[in-house]
Amino acid sequence: MTLLDVKNVNKRFGGLQAVSDVSFTVDRGMIKAVIGPNGAGKTTLFNLISGNTPLNSGTISFNNKKIHGFKPYQVAQCGISRTFQNIKLFHDMTALENVMVGRHTKSRAGFMAGMFHLPFTWGEEKEIRHKCLELLELLEIRELADVEATSLSFGQQRAVEFARALASEPDLLLLDEPAAGLNIYETAEIARLISKIRSQGITVLLVEHDMSLVMDISDEIVVLSFGRKIAEDTPREIQQNKEVIQIYLGDDDVEN
């Protein structure tokens, strides 16, 4: 069943066609990866889906509902959660508090309820805390709950960001280069966590440079080059795809 449907999406920045007529779908329950050389338009594509950048033409639907033109918070409210390439945790807040912000769309206390500490917020706060501690447990960082998030190691920060994104119980998780800045051990760890997240029934769409990670965990791969989709297939097929090899390794290697 199609969860995310990206159709003929275009994005120009002045004279640069960053994303050009890209279409693909993500089925429920799969891990799909978007790869491509630097400047291929991967992050732009991501920002189009998450609402950070408005698109020029094309449609994006999620759960059969049009989501292009939505603001990022509206996209989040639809059930799409994301992480960032350069980790964006909230400073001066503990790991747990960071994750609790992720629970925003699943709770409802507003300004008045907050100021007057209305009774319905008591149970809500308890529920938020409980759920978020569970997520920290799932991502194996329970013991770091009360540590200031930005003082954690890079890998741990990434895990906190995952937990924060999961706190809204999203249908789709967008991971923007989850292995960026991590060593091979941490990358393997992240790969394990992503598989674990998928086993919770969450669909994952990731943008990634690290080939080992992508080939290991993804069910399908979309390859972008200069803003165009040049291939979309299983990891095994992508590894054999001549065009893909060409853009990654250059012409000579094909001839050899």
Partner: protein, 354 residues
Amino acid sequence: MKTQRFIPFFLLALVLAGLQFLTQITDTSYYLTQMTMTAYYSLVIIGLCLVMGYAGQISLGHAGFFAIGGYTSAVLTTYNLIHLLEKGNSFVLFLAGKGLLVNGENLYGESLLYVTPWLACILALVLTALIAFLIGIPVLKLKGHYLAMATMGFGIIIYRVVLAWEIMGEADGISDVPGFTLMPGITVNGDFSNRIQNYYIACTILLVAFILLQNLIHSRVGRALRAIHGSEEAADAMGVNTARYKLYTFVLSAVFAALAGIFLTHYNGGIGPSEAGIMKSVRYVAIVAIGGMASMWGTLIMASVLNFLSLRGLFGSYDDAVFGVILIIIMLFAPDGILRLHIWQRFKKFKTGK
């Protein structure tokens, strides 16, 4: 847990009452005037603390909101409506019919007719909220220095308006503002006989506002505001409507400023253009900064101490310069505020032996 939350507030109330008791036994009850004014100024500053320390936005226009509140209330409670009534203005007749106007007589026996302070207060708050809302929508799209400049521009506009508009008394401001009778026997005014009562009125308002803000920052909304401060983009991605949260916070703190303006105007019996001046806004910002930005308690303590010293004239004619210099020094050497040099964490560590 629930009762523990209230212990600090209870202690704060005790301290405030203790200070009053202290002035009584040391026969220095003339301090109460400045202490009352300090409480009202602190109300503006804790509201600004929410905007600056928690939502991470800046406003150099809060003296403007203070002035809008104070001036609106002052104009409404001193503008003589008797001629309009005599002309048969239907709106004035309607207000009179609802008992929302008060009669009076001046020294020469001419009859006077004013809006009651209660109605004036509500109208002033609504007007301030409305203006803050309308200004906030475009202005809060800006960030950092640009936001500071835009809010400062707003503050300057308000200052020029009250300085130039005849109904606002121009450079003289408005005097002879009547007392504000909150309920029979409780009146906000500057009478000597009412000094102790007024001190407690001011402290009660400050304490209630402080508790409301403390509740807010420890709620879901407070978390979202701190998240906006931390990373607006990430907060947005978590489903926080950042624009709306910033706007509501701005309006809320403007209303706090207006409330302080209204009560202080009734307490002083008048208001002048200096209350709208840019240096007042700078002072509020400086005090939030020195209080530790994201620290309500630090801000409250600093607001109380510095405002009191300033009102007692300790800084003399260097008053404005002192706050300007404080702001510069804080920004240069302790951008997190001097009360956040982690003394508490060290103390906690010491206690738990880690």
